[in-house]
Symmetry: C2
C-alpha cells in the first residue's frame, strides 16, 4: 500500500482525485486487516471510494455543498464486502454534483488540462494515476464508462441490481449500478467476486475465449470523433487477425429511441429521489441539476411507463442478439477526454446499455490526436458478468492492452 500513499502525496495536489484522504487512517485500517484471522481475497489491497458511497469514518458529501462534511453512521454494503475480503478503503474520491454533470476539481492524469470524465471522476483518476489498485464507481448514464475511457483504465459496470446498493446515494433506481475501475482486468474480476459473494472465480486463471463478437456502430456512430471511429475499427481488425470472428451488426429497430427513453426514465426518477434537495435547498443546486428535476416533475407517469416498456422491448431484442454473439463491441465515448475541466463530456454512447441494465467492460485502446486515451466497450448478457469479464481478459491479451501510469506532471 505504501507506493500508493507515496503517489497520492506526490501527485494529488495536481490531480485532485481525493476529496477526503488521511494516510494515518489508511495505515490503521491496513494494520487492522492484518490482524484478521484469515487473509481474504483482497488482503491489503487499497481501493478508492466514490463520494456518493457511505463510509463510517470519512464524510460523504455527494459532490454537493448541501452535504459538505456529512458523516454517515455506517459503511455502504459494497465497502463492507470489500473490507470483508481484506481490502482497504483508503479515501473518498471526487464525484460530480449528485453524480450528475456539474464537475468537481479532478483533472485527467494524462493531461491536467483535460477532464477525467464524470461522475466517477476521482476514482478513475486515482486508479489511472496509481493512487489505488481499484476504485468503486457507479453509473446512471455513463458515469463509469466515460471516466474509465478518458483516463485510460479498465471499467466494469455491473448488471443492474447484481451488487447491493445499500448506503449508495440513489439517483435513478432503474438505472443506478455499481462498478469498478482498475488498471488490470484481474483486479476487476477479484473485486467483483468479493462484492458479489462468489469465491475466487475459476476462470481467473483459465481462459474463456470469445468466438464471436458483434461490432456495433449503432444509431450514434456519426457522432463519434474520427479518432474514436478509427480506434474501434482498428481494434476490431486486430481481433480478426487474432482469429476472433468480428461481424458488423445492424442496430435493431427496438434500440432507435432508447437513448431518449433513458433520459425520460432518468429525469422522472431523479425528480423523486432528490426531491428533498430541490424543495429545501434550491439555491445550492446547479442550474443543470435543478433543471433536470423540473423536467422530471413535469414528465407524466404515462411517458415514464412508456419509456420502461420500450426498455423492456429493447432488452428482449438485445437478449436475442446476444444468443448469437459472445459480446457486442462499440465505442465507449464520443471521443478522447475534451480539454477543460468545466464539463465532463458526453454520455451518449452509454445511455443505450445503461437503460437496458446489461454489464459492460471498457477497454482502453489507442490515442487521439492530443495523445489522450481512447476506448471501446464490450457489452454482455444480463447477469453474465463473470463471462463478460473473462472474455474481456482474453481480448485485452489479444490487443496487448496495458495501462501505464502517466509520468508525474508539473502542478498546474
Amino acid at each position: 500500500m505504501g507506493d500508493h500513499l507515496v503517489r497520492i502525496d506526490a501527485q494529488d495536489r495536481a490531480v485532485n482525485a481525493f476529496i477526503d484522504f488521511d494516510a494515518d487512517r489508511a495505515l490503521r485500517l491496513a494494520r487492522a486487516a492484518d490482524q484478521q484471522p484469515e487473509k481474504g481475497l483482497l488482503h491489503g489491497v487499497p481501493f478508492a471510494v466514490k463520494d456518493i458511497i457511505d463510509t463510517v469514518d470519512l464524510p460523504t458529501s455527494w459532490g454537493s455543498p448541501i452535504y459538505k462534511g456529512f458523516q454517515a453512521p455506517r459503511n455502504a454494503s459494497c465497502v463492507e464486502m470489500l473490507m470483508r475480503a481484506g481490502a482497504i478503503p483508503i479515501g473518498k474520491t471526487v464525484t460530480t454534483e449528485f453524480a450528475y454533470f456539474s464537475p468537481g476539481a479532478t483533472r485527467n492524469p494524462h493531461n491536467l488540462d483535460h477532464t477525467p470524465g464524470g461522475s466517477s471522476s476521482g476514482s478513475a483518476a486515482a486508479v489511472a494515476d496509481g493512487m489505488a489498485v481499484f476504485g468503486l464507481g457507479s453509473q446512471t448514464a455513463a458515469s463509469l464508462t466515460r471516466p474509465a475511457a478518458y483516463c485510460g483504465v479498465f471499467g466494469y459496470k455491473a448488471s443492474q441490481g447484481s451488487i447491493d446498493l445499500q448506503g449508495v446515494m440513489g439517483l435513478a433506481a432503474s438505472l443506478d449500478s455499481l462498478g469498478l475501475l482498475a488498471r488490470g482486468i484481474d483486479d476487476l474480476i477479484l473485486a467483483r467476486a468479493a462484492l458479489c459473494g462468489t469465491v475466487l472465480p475459476g476462470d481467473v486463471q483459465g481462459h474463456s475465449s470469445p468466438q464471436k463478437i458483434a461490432f456495433f456502430k449503432g444509431p450514434h456512430w456519426h457522432e463519434a470523433s474520427q479518432s474514436m471511429q478509427d480506434a474501434c475499427i482498428s481494434a476490431a481488425e486486430a481481433l480478426r487477425s487474432a482469429g476472433v470472428s468480428v461481424t458488423d451488426l445492424e442496430s435493431p429497430s427496438e434500440f432507435t429511441h432508447l437513448s431518449e427513453c433513458h433520459k425520460t426514465v432518468m429525469a422522472f426518477e431523479v425528480a423523486r429521489a432528490r426531491h428533498f434537495e430541490f424543495r429545501n435547498h434550491p439555491e445550492q443546486l446547479s442550474s443543470a441539476f435543478y433543471g433536470l428535476i423540473e423536467t422530471g416533475l413535469s414528465t407524466s407517469r404515462a411517458d415514464y411507463d412508456a419509456a420502461l416498456a420500450a426498455r423492456d422491448a429493447g432488452e428482449a431484442a438485445l437478449a436475442k442478439l446476444l444468443s448469437s454473439y459472445d459480446a457486442i463491441m462499440t465505442p465507449a465515448a464520443t471521443s478522447g477526454a475534451p480539454a477543460g475541466i468545466e464539463a465532463t463530456g458526453d454520455p451518449l454512447f452509454s445511455r443505450l446499455w445503461t437503460v437496458m441494465r446489461v454489464p459492460t467492460v471498457t477497454l482502453p485502446f489507442g490515442r487521439d490526436t492530443a495523445n489522450l486515451p481512447l476506448a471501446f466497450q464490450l457489452v454482455g448478457r444480463f447477469g453474465a458478468d463473470q463471462t463478460l469479464l473473462a472474455h474481456s481478459r482474453v481480448i485485452a491479451d489479444h490487443l496487448q492492452i496495458s495501462c501505464e501510469i502517466p509520468k508525474l506532471q508539473p502542478h498546474p
Copy 2:
C-alpha cells in the same frame, strides 16, 4: 387532523403505535401545507411513517438500539412525494428490529393482549385506531400484509420497484417494497397516485368490475387456521352470490418451492445490506437477526442465483395465470393476531407473492374465535397496481367491508 391528534393523545399510551410524535410539529406542518399556493390531492391528510423511513425533523432508528435517536439529513422520497401532495407526516411508527422479526412495544388496538403483526406494526395499529388516515409501510416478507390483516385494515403492497425507495432502509433489494395501510381503499388509491406521480386516477369514481377471480389455496392452505379457511371460503361464496366468477385454482408446480426461495434470497441480501451492523455491533442485534445474517453469509452465490432463477420461472407462470383472471384471492395470514406481543406472527402466506414482486391488496373479512380480524389478499399482475386497487374497491363494496375504529380500551 385534530381528531387524529386527540385519538393519539387518548390512546397511544396503550397502543404504542408511535415511537416519535410531537403534536406541535404536526400542527406546524399542517399550517405550512395550508400556505402552499395550490391544494394538493392529499391536502391536510395526516399520515404515519414507519420508522425505517427517513424524516428530516424526527429521528429514524430502524427499530434498533444501534440507531436510537439518529437524525437523517433529509426526507425519504416517499415522504417528499406525499408532502408535495399536501399530506402531513404526523409521526414515526414502531417497526420491528430492522423490519425483521423482533417486535417493538405496539399492541393490537382490537385487543391489547395481542400482537399487531410486524414489521409495519405501528403504522397498522395507528391506522386501525384512527390515529392517522393512512400509514406508510414496507414489505420484504409479510411486513405489510400481516399487520394489515391482524389489525383489520386495508393494506396495499406495491409492485416491487414501482415506488422510489430512496431514504428507506434497505433489507433485501430484490424483495423490499413500499406500501400503504388505510381504513378505506380510496385512501390507498389517492396516496398511491401521489407516490407514483399519477394525477387523480380516473377510476376512483368509476367502477372497474372484476369478472373472474381465482381462488388459490396454494401449497400452505393446511397451515391456515380453521377460522381463516372459513373466512376465505365465505368471502368467495359471497362474491359468487354477487355475480363474480370465483374459480378454484391449482397451484402451478413452479410455485412449490418459492417460499423457500424467498428465504434464500432474503438471507443472502440481508447479510450484505446489514453487514455493517453485524460486524460492528453484534452485541446490539437480536439473536434472530444475527442468525439471519450468518445464514446469508454462508449461502453461496450459486444457491442465491438459483433461487432468483426459480423466482423468474414462477413469475412467468403467474403472468400466464393472470392473463385468464383479474386477480388471485388467497389467505392474507395463517390466522387472526396471535395472543402476546413477544412475536409478530407467521409470514408464510406472503412469501410467495413478495418473492414474485407482484402487487397485493389485503381486505379484512370476518373474525376469529377470539373476535380478532381475519383477512384475505388479492394478488394482481406486476405493474397493474391501479387496476388491482380498482378491483379491490368493487370487491370490498360487494362484501360490505368497513373498518370500524375499535372502542377505547383500558390501558393494560
